[in-house]
Structures are given as structure tokens and as C-alpha cells.
Amino acid sequence: MTEPVIDIQGVWKSYRFFQLRDVALRLEPGQILGFVGPNGAGKTTTIRILMGMIRHDRGTVRVLGCSMPSEQAVAKRDIGFVSEDMRLQSSATLGWHMRFIASIYAGWDASYADVLLRRFNLHAEQTIKGLSHGERVKATLLLVLARRPRLLLLDEPTTGLDPVARHEILAELMDVVRDERRAIVFSSHNTQDVEQISDHITFIDRGRIIDSSDKETFLDRWRRIHLDVPSGAVLPPLAGVTDTSASGRVAIVTTKAYVPGLETTYTRSGITVRDVQPMTLEEIFVANVLSNRGEQP
């Protein structure tokens, strides 16, 4: 068996107004992990712990086989980190940054950097302050990708980007995992991007991991079931139902434990199943957050 790229268990971190509670994450080589949560849920704190930038209070954090934060110097050679607040030298050119990174990292791939310049429609002569937001994100990503790190930690890489820039970035990320030794963690509240390219999805809310599974399982198990309930019929209680909304004789049941054939449980109680609808990751995410908040006030 290959060693996981990320393996963290029982991680706690307390701040005055926020607490990360018992966080566990695992990522295998060749996979993309979509890390999804509302603003302030703990995505950035978790990613910074993975980078060794924040010391956790309790738990174990292993990244690329290194214990963090103590062995971060070794791990960071092979991690590419991109976040919203990355500071580039605003009066320097992109080319200056490329030469600077190349001088630090032995693995810098100059010809791949040139390919990325063309694909992202960037120019080495441009100064950072002359770039748009989207171009700046692409420039930051270029500086990281051309090092060909084994692990990419991307904090909200597509937030605030136009559709074309988002498309270019997603295409580049998919290109990275053509190599099955490499892996990506990709935090976002844009569930559409996550649904498209992630293999594994982890939901975080209020400092706690509320659900984590491979994407296909999420999309298979969550369903909205539309029912016609005749007067006198009673909805059978089913495990996995996260929400039931009824008005008159119509009921909509949201379940996280759908299996083909579940319909017969309702028809046997005299209830008509009108439709069984799959849910988008966004719908699953919202239903998941709301049902968890309901259980843990």
C-alpha cells in the first residue's frame, strides 16, 4: 500500500472565538480532495495546520510522511500552497518572481512554466500591480505548479474568478493528477467546481467535519423523494432521513441513505412515490449543514 499524502487525526485548535474540533482528514496519492464549508467554518485554519503555519493544540498531523509542524522544512519542498492573501512583490514583474522561485527550488520546470504562461495568457514582462485579480491568481498558481510539487494545497483558488479563468484553472488541476503520485486539496464554497473535479469530498461546518466520503457515494445516497400521502396514511420512519416537509397531501423527504428499491417502503404504506430526484452537491451540502446544526445546537 502507498502511504497517504495527508493523514491527520483528532486535531484540535482553540482560539478565543473559534475552535477546530476533532478534525480528521486523509488523502491518497492521485486524488483531489474538495474541502467544502461556509465562510468561517475552519477551512483556512485546517489548511494552515497542514502547511505547518499554525501549530495545533492536540492530535497528529502527517503530510507527505512528515510530522507537522516539526518536519515542515522537508515537507514544504514538495508542497505548493496558494491562498487568497498571498503577497507578491507588486512592483516586480512575473518573470522576476519566476527567476526567484527557480533559484530556491531545484525542481523548477522552466519549460512547463513557459507552457503555463501561454495557457494562462500571461506575460513574464507584466508587473504584478498591473494584473487583474484573475491574472494574479493564475500567476500565483503558475509559480506553484511549475515546481511540480507532489501536494497542492489550494485555499479558495477559484473564488472571485470569471468563468474562463476558472475553466483554465480546473483544466490545469486535472492535468496535475494525470500523475497518480500527486494530490490536491482544494477548498471552496463553490460546490460546482468541487462536484466537477473532486474524488473525495469533506464538509466542514463550525470547526467540525460533518461528513466525508468519496464523491460518487455522496451523489448516490442523497435523494429528494416526492410523495403523495393519502389521508390516513402515515410516513414510515426511515433511517437516514434528514428532513421532511409536508403540506396538505404532498410530502418531500430528504434522505442521505437512499438505496434503489427504497420506494417500496412507501408504496407498502399506501403512499405514492411521484419522483426520486438526485441532488447537486450544493443541495447536499446545504441539507447536510442544516441537519447537523439541528442535531448540535
Binding site: 486524488q31 483544466a171 486535472m174 492535468d175 493528477v177 494525470r178 466537477q196 451523489l219
Partner: protein, 137 residues
Amino acid sequence: MNSGELLISQVDRRPMYLQIMEQIRHRIAISDWEPGRELPSIRALAASVQVSVITVKRAYLELEREGVIVTRHGIGSFVADRADLSVQLRRGELDEHLSAAADIGRQLGMTPNELTSRLQSAIARGNANDAKDEKDQ
């Protein structure tokens, strides 16, 4: 493989793995992809259509279960080497349409006989149209 060969729709409510399966089946059904042809690797197809590796992997697994493709581990995946595959797949497409029609018929409370006679009138209409087309030429 070019990225233009398969296209996944965000508007289509069907799961992405089903869309991939259907497009591959269709390519084979119309003999665009011949028996024995090598399919793109899972990671190459995932990169070209820009969907998760796990989604493409699932589509390949299910196509393998259906006998449409064969995967030789460490070598690659291939269109199954069966001469009748394309005909089988087209019959499969027909069966899906017929099942959908049967479902609607049931919802409308039709008897099997009523539904069958509707199918026969549809066949008759099709034959009449063909005859008309020939006359027009």
C-alpha cells in the same frame, strides 16, 4: 484522445458517470469505436473532459460489468471484441425507450393491449411516411 470526443453537460441532471457511459456506448453503437479499440486511460479521459478520476473510473467499471469494455490490468481498457456489440447496444437503446414508454403507459392506466396497439399504430405511421417519402422522390 481529443477533448472534443466526449462532453459532459452541467445542465443534464443525470450523474456524470452515466453521461460518460452513455456517450461511450453511443460511440460503439454507431461503430465509431470498433471492437478491440483501446480506450483512453482513466486519468487521460478525466483530464480531457475535466471530471474527477473517480467518476471516470466508475463509468469504466460499470461498462465492464455490462460487457461493453474489457480492462486488462496494467495494460488498458478496450472495446469488447464482440462482432455483435454495436447491434446489441442499439437494441439496448431501443429497449430503454420502450421501457420508458411502458412506464408512461402504466401511469396513464393503459392495459398492455392498448399500449401494444399504440405501438402498432406508430409502426404503421412510420411505414406510411416512408412510402410518402419514396413517392415524393
